[in-house]
Symmetry: C2
DNA sequence: TAGATTGTTAATCGATTAACAATC
DNA sequence: TAGATTGTTAATCGATTAACAATC
């Protein structure tokens, strides 16, 4: 695999999609695939697909195409999926619980290790075998345990405070679902899921169908 | 406002963020803002901000800047937020309920009008005053009511079936949270929120911090 | 071997940034 | 008016697409 090459964000955002499709193909027992066939499945051009893979060194074989299983594995390696990520969830309302279920049942390699909330009604309940703890205990927990990812499922008003605590507790990344523009030190990777932005974009495209 | 100009997706995705920030500024009573100040707040360059706004015709005034309130309103108009969108949710587990709460309490202009599920334990319960109906009734509901947006919060395996029913029922847009690559006719706008892709991208950036 | 398909270079396209005249 | 800041054109940068030689 090539090294020392800066990969553009556009490429990174396409990799999970490739991987998802390759997983399905592998599940169907398909062993090889050409960039042209992948183009049909993904909607990306064959040319772009080859360019993307060549960022990391040649995964294919001329005249043959790509081996589905090995390409799947390679992309997993690039994405850093060859290890386990420990995650904590802050905010255990419907959204926090939904994310917990999702991670537990769909995402091997991403493990919920603790959950926190301020709501006394939620503290103490168990979600997929994880007991919801008092948010007051987050700081202590992060001191005593190495956590890779903090997931913010709180209200807008608490989000920045939670982010600060997570950063101080040396998490490597924050997955933010709160509708807030939080700020963190550059050493922490921040991935926002802004539902509002997504819904607004949807409204835009609905309003502008057909018209010029 | 200019018309007949194709606006790039990149611009559209920035508009909700501008709007969010302008809303906050308006809330603080700030009346005017320059592209330079907006640049500080958004992280986009002042040049890009002026280019973005000029896609729609000049919103500003030389030597003065932009009027916060009027810019906020204009962007809302562009995004199509000057009307109400009726939405139905299919799949009323934690995620569906979380989205319902979110839309109800945070998103004026986007109204949940009905919710559906196949689970007998959920059918009949009320969520923010909306009763969960049997999924069997979706088709009938869509025939009798005009729905703008269908929100898919089901499992992966049901997602395509739901999308087909929504498309047949003439929804204008689909907001998909199921971890599936669904396909719909071009006449329906599809906005995916692929949590898996987002999490994988986060893993990538965590794995590649520091290193070359 | 002949056919297929990659890896890679070159061309194109589009988006971002820089610069500055227009003008409030 | 002088200063500030937009609107807009031109320059740059980066990403996508096209083309084709390399090679399995």
């Amino acid at each position: 695999m090539k090294d020392n090459v800066r990969i553009s964000n556009a490429v990174i955002r396409r990799l999970p999609r490739y991987r998802r499709i390759l997983e399905e193909l592998a599940g169907k027992g398909i062993e090889r695939i050409s960039s042209k066939e992948l183009s049909n499945l993904t909607g990306y051009t064959a040319s772009q697909i080859r360019q993307d893979f060549n960022n990391f060194g040649g995964f294919g074989q001329q005249g043959y195409g790509y081996n589905v299983q090995s390409l799947f594995t390679q992309i997993g390696l690039i994405l850093g999926l060859d290890r386990e990520y420990c995650m904590v969830i802050i905010g255990c309302g419907n959204l926090g619980q939904a994310i917990a279920n999702y991670a537990t049942y769909y995402k091997r390699g991403f493990k919920i290790v603790a959950m926190f909330d301020v709501n006394p009604k939620l503290i103490g309940i168990r979600i997929n075998d994880i007991e919801v703890q008092d948010y007051e205990l987050l700081e202590k927990y992060l001191k005593e345990n190495e956590v890779d990812i903090g997931i913010i499922c709180t209200t807008k008003s608490s989000a920045q405070d939670v982010a600060d605590k997570l950063a101080e507790g040396k998490v490597k990344g924050i997955w933010n679902f709160a509708p807030a523009d939080i700020e963190v030190d550059d050493s922490v990777v921040l991935e926002n899921v802004h539902l509002s932005d997504s819904l607004n974009a949807l409204a835009y495209y609905i309003s502008h169908r057909d018209q010029p």
